[in-house]
């Protein structure tokens, strides 16, 4: 692909393109028999997090991911893919069930971040994210994460503590949006492109520093056509990876996840 000359910020813009597939497209093309589960059993159903059970090949998996919309109406409903604490609590509930039934977990990441709102804070946004990360650390079933669009901040991390983390070629994963990063460090949100260059947020960067385990090529013509070849290859790869992970013991899976994240960091000892 052309890809040598693509700047980091161009990747950010592609990752945000509203014509990219969203979680419901992926579920429809990769899985069958999807049964959607709603609600956190506490107070509400957060449409920014979609979850349920589906068959990947012949294997039941728990599917969880961020939902972005294409139209304004859809985006109002799913809050532009920015979850509330209740969304993470729904994710935790579904992960607990996955553990109970020995189902692997497949997550899809595409969010500008957790919603920075008044009610979200009142209902414990930080606590909900922390619990979701903690729940993922405790799972003894395989966890596979696919970063499909933009993965920003704790809102993305909350559902991506995985044994294998794969990124689409034009997806990004970062501590914060480049706009937010520039605003914090330089008090100038318009320097997002400079920020993107520094942040090491592309799939290639993340593979390089051990966060991502595989980069998935996107259709050469973009996501304009039916993308049948793309989905077919992706489904085969996901099934093969789940086969590989399911062959491991529960203790190995849990320890493997610990070791993966334990090793990430750069410091002087």
């Amino acid at each position: 692909m052309e890809e040598q000359n693509t700047t980091a910020y161009q990747r950010v813009q592609r990752a945000r393109d509203k014509n990219r597939p969203n979680i419901r497209d992926y579920i429809a093309h990769l899985c069958t028999d999807f049964f959607e589960q709603r609600g956190d059993r506490g107070s509400m159903d957060d449409a920014a997090i979609v979850g349920g059970i589906a068959l990947l090949g012949s294997r039941p998996v728990t599917v969880i991911g961020h939902q972005k919309g294409r139209t304004l109406e859809e985006n109002v409903r799913c809050n532009f893919g920015m979850p509330q604490p209740e969304g993470y609590r729904k994710a935790i509930r579904l992960m607990e069930q996955a553990e109970k039934f020995g189902r692997p977990v497949l997550t899809f990441v595409d969010t500008p971040g957790a919603y920075p709102g008044l009610e979200a804070e009142r209902h414990g946004q930080g606590e909900a994210i922390a619990r979701s990360i903690q729940k993922m650390c405790s799972l003894t079933v395989p966890v596979l994460t696919l970063v499909t669009g933009e993965g920003s901040s704790g809102g993305a991390l909350a559902i991506s503590v995985a044994n294998s983390l794969w990124m689409l070629e034009n997806s990004v994963y970062s501590v914060l949006s480049p706009e937010g990063f520039a605003a914090i460090l330089w008090k100038d949100g318009s320097r997002a492109a400079d920020a993107a260059d520094l942040m090491r947020l592309t799939a290639a960067d993340l593979l390089d520093c051990g966060v991502a385990d595989r980069i998935l090529p996107e259709p050469e013509e973009g996501f304009t056509g039916d993308c049948i070849g793309f989905y077919t290859t992706l489904r085969e790869q996901l099934i093969a990876e789940m086969d590989r992970l399911c062959a491991q013991s529960p203790a190995t899976l849990k320890n493997g996840r610990y070791k993966k994240f334990r090793a990430i960091g750069s410091f002087k000892a």
Binding site: P116, L118, E121, I133, G154, V175, C209, I264
Partner: protein, 291 residues
Amino acid sequence: MDSNMFHKRREKLDLFKAFRNKTVQVQEKPVPDDLYTKCPSCGSPILSTRFREMLRVCPHCGGHSVLGARDRLAATVDEGSFRELFGQMAANDPLHFPGYAEKLSGLEKKTGLREAVVTGTGKVGGYRMAIAVMDSRFIMGSMSSAVGEKITLLAEYAAKKRLPLIVFCASGGARMQEGIFSLMQMAKTTAAVERLAEAGCLYVTVLTNPTTGGVTASFASLGDIILAEPGALIGFAGPRVIEQTIKQKLPEGFQRAEFLCDCGFVDAVVPRGQLRDTLAQILKLHSREGR
């Protein structure tokens, strides 16, 4: 005689006037700069020695101002019992972020700290424990790889030695200069805290001003018992970001320790002067003796 009387009176008055107008050259004794400290909350001058005795809590308004990690340890841990662990660890510059290396070396000189957290073991009220204290003077106590690594190592040490772990949190969140490496420390520290829980060890967090962002969304919110200092700002998103998002002013006291306690996310708001005794009480309640 009468005129004489007036004359004398005039003389006296002149003398008095001269005395009154006399400018006396007095050697001014300068007030030492550090004799008084201005309270950052209410602005009142406080005798510095008294301010230190009060652990930097204002006697006038009760405002809890920044307490450095070393002072916090001195105020919390039994005298002579603290043993520092992983003290040599320091930040790297993985993104080659402009100005970051200079900032780090400048802060090391200014604060005497190599990173935003000090870790070690000691006793509180006679009970052995592992302790981490974050210091907001070091890039707002932000989570670098080194901060994440130190907290992870300490949690692993506590799990291995079956010690309770106490973490004093003070953090603005992620260390932006370390990008994705900073974000990943949330997963790393949380995984270590989860292992500590599986080992059956007590984990207590004390949220001090401020505890926000990635620290709130990881190890700070996962204590078996969560304490907070009065007035501490605690949240995930910062108040300015929320105001920009919802386009209205936040209510008074929003995201403060007392509010978090009312919302059910903090067990108790404990004034600084009582924290040591409260921690000793919690350790006593979890002591293995008598079980």
